[in-house]
Amino acid sequence: MNFSKINWKQLGITAGIPLIILVILGFMPNYGWDYGVTLFSNFLFYIIISVSWTMFSGATGYISLATAAFYGIGIYAAALYGNTLPLYVVVLIGGVASFILAFIVGAITLRLKGIYFAMFTFGLVLLLKEVIFYWEIVIEGTRGRIVALESNETVYYYLLAIFVITMLVAYIIRKSKYGLALQSIGENEEAAAHTGVNVTMTKILTFAISAVFMGAVGVIMATKNTYVDPSTAFNPMMSFSPALMAIFGGMGNIYGPVLGAVIFTYIQEILQTGSLKNYYMLIFGAMLVATILYLPNGLMGLIQNLWRRIKGAKSAPTRG
């Protein structure tokens, strides 16, 4: 590293703004705004899953619908160990279990291309759900489990911590040579393989790393309710939401999925509590279709285009 080449002004912006936001978020529970804590917990939660989803799927173009599976693994980790082990250990268990599952599933399925990979990963969600249902009803003779409840503040701080780690990891991956390798895989896998990129390992590892956060966040979200069963733990919506949010926000930039998650979550909050609650899926759908048709690079792409125009497009765009 050549330290004299560091652009301090740029470093101030890239590190300073996130730090300020982090401090504001850090004191959130002290503002006496109870709804704010719940709302921002939701924001953080959806940001975590859409950013971690984008880590793998955004770069490689392999659309994974397995998010609900890893999330559900986390929920079940909370149900199984939440009463006996400290919460941070359970979060680790959820993350590690998801990593292992994703590694195995990745090793088996990442040779599948396009829609086949999406279908298989979605099948994994349904498979886990049915297997656990079977296990509970036929073998244990129960249905669902009790989860130890945690306070809103605890949930919030855990989410904040996972959020910070997720963003850091996403940032590091994107800036490192593996981020470049992932992009090259997404654009032309054959060329990547012949240029020395260990395509299979890069894909499997990134898939598994992204699953860690989905599992960890599942543990935390499980403690918001006292009861879980396979249908709530392995809810297919949890597979679609991160993909929709990331596409809406734009995947060419680390802030795209963040923006998408915040806007979608907020709209969801408004619509679900207002008089339009029966129509919110419909509105989501329409928004998504409009995004894909008119904003192929998502909201972030639109913002970048506008920014470039304002700045007078001094330098040629380096990323499409």
């Binding site: 040579k177 390798a181 090259s184 054959e190 240029t195 020395g196 260990n198 040629a316």
Partner: protein, 244 residues
């Protein structure tokens, strides 16, 4: 010992033998031409050498070590790089990033800073310094082929497989491409070229291998090949055409 050697290399696609029992070798420092009619198995042979496909049966040795059974990235890291008949660049990435990936993941892995320097040097070498930061997808075909060459060179190959880098180029571009192959050769890289442009092949190759319907039908110096009855019959056509 040959740098690259194939023994009885065979591969079937369905019932069709794309290559059958081809023996070949490439010595260090050579420029070898691989010619033959469309569908003769030239690109298939490249795919086998670069491990995109596996021979069945047959054996391919690089520096005395068997390389079939390895993955493409392993073969690349051993020192065999290739370009593609239909250009396979990462179109939305800037040209320099395309080349940097080669430096970062190739035979001699570089640190990020060194990879950038090396990529710049290679772009200079192939004459693309001006467009280093433009998206690779927006370049002309001739330039995209040059980016592929630069990317392949960035992996630090001892053996470079060039698949039709001269097809579809105009006269000026063709001369430049021939010059580029000569420059690569002078760098000490052994080159195998697939080409249909006879003038280019005859001008740059030390030795030529001719394939037809998956079989090797001739091998020799450009002179011997142009005079071979068999090659004229299946590929070159009338003698008068050669070199025109």
């Amino acid at each position: 010992m040959h740098l690259l050697e194939g023994k009885g290399v065979t591969i079937h696609f369905g019932g069709l033998a794309a290559l059958s029992e081809v023996d070949f070798y490439v010595d260090e420092g050579e420029v070898v031409g691989l010619i033959g009619p469309n569908g003769a198995g030239k690109t298939t042979l490249f795919n086998l050498i670069s491990a995109a496909l596996q021979p069945k049966p047959g054996e391919i040795m690089f520096k005395g070590k068997k390389i079939n059974g390895l993955k493409p990235y392993q073969v690349c890291r051993l020192g065999i790089a290739r370009t593609f008949q239909t250009v396979k660049l990462w179109g939305s990435l800037p040209v320099i990033e395309n080349v940097r990936i080669g430096s970062l993941f190739g035979a001699q892995k570089r640190l990020a800073v060194d990879a950038t320097t090396e990529a710049k040097e290679l772009l200079e070498f192939v004459g693309l310094s001006d467009v280093a930061y433009a998206p690779a997808g927006g370049l002309t075909l001739a330039n995209q082929k040059r980016v592929e060459v630069a990317r392949a060179l960035a992996t630090k190959p001892e053996l470079l497989l060039l698949d039709e880098i001269m097809s579809g180029l105009n006269q000026t571009e063709l001369l430049e491409a021939m010059e580029l192959v000569n420059k690569i050769h002078k760098k000490g890289v052994t080159v195998v070229v697939i080409e249909h442009v006879m003038k280019a092949i005859m001008g740059i190759c030390d030795r030529i291998v001719v394939l037809n319907y998956g079989k090797k039908i001739a091998e020799g110096t450009p002179q011997e090949i142009t005079n071979s009855e068999k090659v004229i019959e299946v590929y070159l056509g009338e003698k008068a055409d050669v070199g025109s």
